[in-house]
Symmetry: C2
Subunit: 237 residues, 2 copies
DNA sequence: CTCATCACCCTTGTATACAAGGGAGAGGGA
DNA sequence: TCCCTCTCCCTTGTATACAAGGGTGATGAG
């Protein structure tokens, strides 16, 4: 959807942006090699490329894992996005009308996804807006950088249970686009800074980065079957 | 000097920033493996990492080469640097006094290098200023991104025979630092934009990106020894 | 003398074999 | 019953062997 999935790298990135790969997920070389019908060599190459892009990391002799950004990593990634995306808007003079039209169409797609409710496509589209916006300015280098940063912040959002309100983000995007169309790029830059800031503020960075966050939601109702007396009040006491 | 050279990647980047590795230089796997006393495997891994960072590229079955940025690549790289470096300054509120002091010291080093004349150290220091400035803002992610971008623009400068006036750049740096110290980060951002713009304008992007640019200067006086009659006026006619 | 053709060599591309190390689980002792 | 320890297995780390392809130089014809 976002990018070419014709490579292992691309497939991993796409899966992350779509929210199908969570932080901490193990990416075994043998498993991927089997999945793609190639030898471990190719898989390792892809993993190392992704490692330099900050998407996966290796734990010696244990395996490759989708990165689990720390609170500091999260701060740094969001700051980087603010600097670059606001800088991009502030540096630009205008945007071609057809590019604005395409982005408008994208925001409309976002709106529908927000209403329909699928969390996967929604996350994907909301992240894609930023990538497409960057691409519209015609600098593939910055676009590529922002794609990686967006992948990072997507992982952050997954890890820190953001109560990101998708509708609010969608409205932000629409407002930014309005300002661009009106030719007020400086205001758009300011709005973008605020938008990314709000997304970051929506995170629960105080909580410990828990790799089992995903399982936790599923397993929450579970009460350990210990032989402790039931009269101790249970986990809620 | 700029970064850890304790890896093949780092050594290559450092060599580029120092101007010791020129665009188009071939980096044979066997040669590097021999040089570092490791097998080709490790070298290939390093090359692939550098490839994802946009520093080298591979020509199938021919070898790895330091990238030779096209005119468009150059434009894009400088634009990316303008966006990020100006955005970084514009987003920041202030810089700790000790960081300013360190940068001041660096600019002084630059000045001495410009006077002494060694082109290698000079290039290295002038590029390092931007990296150190980015590092001073405490975002290692942006610092890393800018290191790679600076490596690219350094390659561009080597390829397109920039008549970069080192003294002018040094003065720009000092002025930017003055504005930062005065607390006028917005003006510093604007100055940075101008500075990078001037560096880019100093390039001769009109000329074809010639991998033999270095040889050209040396071989220029050479007149082809054809068997054509000398009375035809020669190549200057 | 010039040019086309061909073979060899040197390069990267890919897979595989083996080494090294961490983790889980079995087993035994307290 | 609990815990400690040890072993085996599964994982990645690294090197090497072989495959594939391009470039250069020799060689021969015109």
């Amino acid at each position: 959807m976002t990018l070419a999935s014709d490579s292992i790298d691309g497939a991993v990135i796409a899966a992350i942006l779509a929210g199908r790969l969570r932080p901490g997920t193990r990416l075994g070389e043998a498993a991927l090699a089997d999945l793609y019908g190639v030898s471990r060599t190719r898989v390792r190459e892809a993993m190392m490329r992704l490692e330099t892009r900050g998407i996966v990391q290796v734990s010696p002799r244990r395996g490759w894992f989708v990165v689990e950004p720390s609170a500091e990593d999260a701060r740094v990634a969001f700051e980087a996005r603010r600097v670059i995306e606001a800088g991009l808007l502030a540096s630009a003079r205008t945007l071609p009308p057809d590019a604005v039209a395409r982005l408008r169409h994208h925001v409309e797609e976002e709106r529908r996804a927000v209403l329909d409710g699928g969390v996967g496509p929604r996350t994907c589209l909301l992240g894609d807006f930023h990538i497409h916006l960057a691409a519209a300015f015609g600098n593939p280098l910055l676009t590529e950088i922002l794609r990686d940063l967006t992948a990072r912040t997507t992982l952050v959002s997954m890890l820190y249970q953001s109560d990101l309100h998708a509708a609010e983000s969608n409205a932000d995007h629409a407002r930014i686009l309005d300002l661009i169309e009106a030719g007020d790029l400086a205001a758009a830059a300011s709005e973008m800074t605020g938008h990314i800031h709000r997304v970051e503020q929506g995170l629960d960075l105080g909580t410990a980065p828990d790799p089992h966050a995903g399982l936790r939601g599923i397993l929450a109702p579970f009460t350990p079957l210990t032989n402790a007396p039931l009269t101790d009040g249970g986990p809620d006491a």
